[in-house]
């Protein structure tokens, strides 16, 4: 074990000396924003989305020929994980009005709002792959964008969002996002969410990357967790039925092609359940555990793009899956936390992004894709990076600068999660900078839907990270915590309306049988299966010694 001082090696300490030397002159120093052309350049040359390798055209279906990361294509071009003939669809285990697949922020909001809209709880069912709330929502740290201040407006928020999305956002979706935002904040306050307030009793707000107004409302750096645990408490109080460790493994359709429910699978008992539903809401979240382009991820354990795949097999159109968000500041050291999220709020509070020489390398709050590309550029095209003992490259995020600008104690009061995470590994980020490198963070694209959450397949509503079109090619900080609430709520309200006239027909897995033929026709060299459900992290030694056991039937 090498000698560490304050958690860092001697080599890294030399670089930290540079940072300490430049700090006083850097206070108040503003690095120029990039021009639109400079943004374009750095993206085209350094962002993984623009690299030719690591991509492939989707080989079949509604989005055939769309270029997407190979990891995404691999999932879409896969065999179902079970034999559809093995499922007895004549026995219905749950007959509900609304099935919600995925109980994260979006799914939970949808369930609550469906109930508020008059749907009795026993007509709703939420299925969760792991525990209720094991989702990316709880890991969102820095804030949620709401244009509530007099100096701000939904129009300005809209412009920020579409600019950040490279003007590829679907306008009605972006409008819904920003217009519903203050209502969401009111709902949260009524439920008891503890949003930070300043001494004057106003919401504490900061800027995020690409925002022209400070509108990031936060609850320290536990914003997602705080919002979710309140919503979850409300959900539990309403007694809405919820299954855990029971992911959906395929959607069900009827003879008209309408989505009519799903097949669920209990990970522990290995039973399957047939759920018939008048309307299904897909809210399965993101795809971080696919490790697109080999990046580590900020996402939770179950983020494996199951919902996009199941929707695609049912015929739903997708959008913007060519676009992957890498969070500019994933932890790069120590090794044990590589890839974990360092919230943008650190930069919002004033930390600067520095190279090995202790100088800024870019404006700290560019939109995420631009910021991430700038960091990648520094680490791959210059010598101005820092290398860790395990060969990881990164740049500094000067957190101690926050204490200088905003006073001692700011970090402990506003970034207690980050403070704790680093203290566990012997690093004090109030005194030393932290090392960062981009980490796979957010699925910018996904299943296409309209402002009432309708996908292109009837009977299937979409809400949350699984969706595509809200953020165009790049999401701004704080718009995802917003999106899950806005569209979760809309999906719940819309589902409550839709079920009044919905009449699902005969349940079938025909669309799965069709999928199998389609995949057969692709002639895959090696069979792939999907949905992935959980990523594989067991060591090689173990995996080389796995074996399929057979049981006597009967």
């Amino acid at each position: 074990m090498m000698k560490l001082k304050g958690g860092y090696t001697e080599e890294m300490r030399k670089s930290i000396d540079n940072v300490n030397k430049t700090r006083s002159k850097r206070i108040g120093e503003v690095f120029d924003h990039m021009t639109m052309k400079e943004r374009d350049d750095v993206l085209k040359n350094y962002h993984p989305d623009y690299k030719a390798d690591g991509k492939r055209a989707i080989a079949y279906g509604e989005n055939k020929s769309d270029i997407v990361p190979v990891e995404v294509a691999d999932i879409l071009e896969s065999y179902p994980i079970f034999n559809p003939d093995d499922i007895d669809l004549s026995q219905i285990d749950y007959d509900v009005s609304i099935l919600i697949i995925g109980g994260g922020g979006a799914g939970t909001s949808a369930a609550i709002w469906a109930n508020y809209s008059g749907v009795p709880v026993d007509e709703i069912l939420v299925s969760n792959k792991l525990r209720h709330g094991d989702a990316n929502t709880v890991m969102a740290q820095g804030g949620i964008q709401i244009a509530d201040r007099p100096e701000d407006s939904p129009l300005i928020h809209y412009l920020d969002a579409v600019g950040g999305g490279h003007f590829d956002n679907i306008p009605e979706l972006a409008k819904a996002l920003v217009n519903d935002a203050p209502d969401i904040l009111r709902w949260h306050k009524d439920l008891g969410v503890m949003y930070d307030l300043d001494e004057d009793g106003n919401f504490m707000v900061l800027s995020g990357g690409g925002t022209s107004r400070s509108r990031m409302h936060s609850a320290k750096d536990y914003t997602g967790l705080e919002i979710f645990r309140v919503i979850r408490d409300e959900f539990r109080g309403l007694d809405i039925p919820s299954l855990e460790f029971t992911p959906a493994i395929e959607l069900l359709t009827d003879e008209t092609g309408r989505v009519a429910g799903a097949v669920l699978y209990h990970l522990e008992t290995k039973q399957y359940f047939v759920v018939k539903a008048k309307t299904t809401i897909m809210s399965t979240g993101g795809f971080g555990r696919l490790h697109v382009s080999g990046f580590p991820t900020t996402n939770h354990y179950g983020a494996t793009m199951d919902g996009v795949l199941m929707s695609y097999r049912a015929g739903a159109k997708l959008r913007n899956l060519e676009s992957t968000q890498f969070h500019p500041t994933g932890a790069a050291y120590p090794e044990q936390i590589v890839g974990l999220l360092i919230t943008e709020k650190v930069r919002g509070l004033g930390a600067q992004v520095l190279g090995n020489n202790g100088e800024q390398i870019c404006y700290p709050l560019e939109p995420r894709d631009v910021e991430a590309s700038a960091v990648i550029k520094c680490c791959t095209s210059t010598e101005n990076f820092i290398e860790t003992p395990t060969g990881m490259r990164g740049v500094w995020l000067d957190s101690p600068l926050i204490e200088e600008i905003r006073g001692k104690g700011t970090i402990v009061n506003n970034l207690s999660a980050m403070d704790r995470m680093f203290q566990r590994f012997g690093i004090d980020l109030t005194v030393d900078p932290i090392l960062i490198y981009p980490s796979l963070h957010y699925q910018n694209g996904g299943v296409l839907h309209d402002e009432l959450c309708h996908s292109s397949v009837s009977g299937l509503l979409i809400a949350g990270e699984v969706s595509g079109g809200v953020h165009g090619k790049n999401r701004l900080m704080g718009n995802s915590l917003l999106e899950i609430n806005v569209f979760g709520r809309r999906a719940g309200i819309e589902a409550a309306k839709e079920i009044k006239n919905a009449k699902p027909g005969k349940l079938s897995l025909d669309h799965i049988k069709k999928s199998i033929s389609v995949i057969d026709s692709l002639g895959l060299k090696k069979k792939r299966y999907g949905p992935m459900i959980l990523p594989e992290y067991r060591s090689d030694i173990v995996r080389d010694r796995l074996v399929q056991l057979y049981e006597s039937t009967d």
Binding site: G133, A147, D148, M194, Y537
Partner: protein, 239 residues
């Protein structure tokens, strides 16, 4: 994702940088730099329970352990804790603590509200076993006491970093489900004891009254170039 580069045949001499830990009683040699979570995966466990966010926010990976030769009980979040030689560990797959049902809209932020739904709070012995096992270093006993004293806001602030891992509830001799108590205290504080600035409801009214309707119509009708122009030239608030 980095695949652990290992070979099938491992000789004892080659086990440098490895430590022996005991996962539910079974001995394993694992790389000494791994977190408990990654060490269990290295040893062959594929998590169903016991892995959630993998970043210290969700409380899924509550781990209880002792160290060889040490009688004390230690607790940790598996995703945030590096293994130690001689660790004898297990995980909590679930903590049984049913949450009472209440309607937050009909409650008052007082000690009596807490005691109504959690009368066991009055049994608190001040033994502090809960604070000692909290992986977030929260002074759990203190916030339970604040609840008893009607100091709801202090309880909310002290308990804020809670990830509901359940370790406190398991150790409590008075059988209090502390994290559920804290959740109620926080909601009471957030709803009744924290102000909401006026401008929020003003903005909601403005939107309802279509103040921005025309603005949106205009903006959504702009061509991409015009929109880009508008975006480039927008004024930015200084941070």
């Amino acid at each position: 994702m980095s695949k652990t580069k290992t070979t099938l045949k491992k000789k004892k001499e080659e086990k440098t940088g490895m430590v022996k830990i005991y996962i539910m009683g079974q001995a394993y040699d694992v790389p000494e730099t791994l977190t408990i979570m990654k060490a269990m995966e290295y040893a062959g466990y594929k998590f169903t329970r016991g892995s959630g966010c993998r970043a210290g926010f969700c409380g899924a990976c509550s781990t209880v352990y002792r160290k060889e030769g040490d009688f004390r009980i230690y607790t940790a979040l598996a995703c945030q804790t590096i293994v130690e030689a001689g660790m004898v560990l297990t995980q909590l797959p679930f903590v049984p603590a049913d949450k009472p049902e209440y309607d937050i809209n009909s409650l008052t932020p007082s000690a009596n509200t807490i005691l109504r739904y959690f009368p066991e709070v009055a049994r608190c012995l001040s033994c502090n076993a809960c604070s000692k096992v909290c992986p977030q270093e929260i002074k759990v006993m203190d916030y339970v006491q604040y609840c008893l004293q009607g100091q709801i806001s202090k309880a909310a602030e002290e308990s804020f970093d809670c990830v509901s891992c359940g370790l406190c509830a398991i150790r409590c001799p008075a059988e209090i489900p502390q994290y559920h108590v804290a959740q109620l205290a926080r909601r009471l504080h957030g709803k009744y004891l924290m102000k909401t600035p006026d401008y929020l409801d003003i903005r909601i009214k403005e939107i309802k009254e279509d103040k921005y309707k025309e603005g949106f119509k205009e903006m959504m009708a702009l061509s991409k170039e015009k929109l880009e122009e508008k975006y480039k030239n927008r004024d930015r608030e200084s941070n």
